[in-house]
Assembly symmetry: C2
Homo-oligomer: 116 residues x 2
DNA sequence: CTGTATCCACCTTGATACTG
DNA sequence: CAGTATCAAGGTGGATACAG
């Protein structure tokens, strides 16, 4: 009985935690952007090329969100024309294991659902 | 040079895999539902209580999606009134490590962004 | 190059009422 | 209990043009 109660608490707690994470990562593109930056510092135009399908507007918007949530740092380099680089914060780096898991599952998924 | 090339390929591959995963888990509620079912078989009304904020319509719709993607199994038990149970497929179970990572990060996030 | 502003079509979601 | 049907509202994202 106490065990069942405990299970239930753990369940609710997990759902809450996952919800909190998704609040920050919820956009259509954020996880892909984190995946891209997981491979190192990138320029705006590089991310644009990495993340197939995203528009410039969306990339700006998502990056701004992520900066506000302390996931990425933004550096403006005063070349001409301007260069801007983004990188994961140490905090954002902690998402890399999530990304790894997700990528592994995504590969499995492609093999399972779509034919190989 | 070959290393840089290799890095870039790995990056694109990861982003694609993550995108595939997100195609299936993309809804506002799907990850929370997986988290709930990760703790065992549940009835429709139990999930409804677990996942704070979801409406009945959305729960039905998301579950139907997930069933189509082989993430959950649906069992109708012929009581009166009807009982319906959902559970993760073995395939869906493979998402549990993703959920765990995400929950850990979500807890960290709450402590980091919101004050503890 | 790295954005911002505007306009707009579409989609997702919630509320409510209803069915077996 | 476990859904479905309908409607309305707001959010989401694309295209385009423009700016620093």
């Amino acid at each position: 009985m106490a065990e069942i109660k405990h299970e239930h608490e753990a369940c609710k707690k997990t759902i809450l935690a996952v919800h909190d994470a998704m609040d920050v990562l919820g956009g259509k593109w954020k996880i892909s952007i984190v995946a891209s930056l997981g491979f190192g510092k990138k320029r705006y135009s590089e991310i644009l090329k990495d993340v197939t399908g995203i528009s410039g507007k969306m990339l700006s918007r998502e990056l701004k969100d992520m900066e506000a949530n302390l996931l990425v740092n933004r550096y403006v380099i005063d070349t001409k024309p301007v260069t801007v680089e983004y990188e994961l914060t140490p905090y954002g780096h902690k998402l890399k294991s999530v990304i790894k898991n997700l990528a592994d599952w995504g590969n499995l998924h492609r093999k399972t659902i779509m034919g190989k």
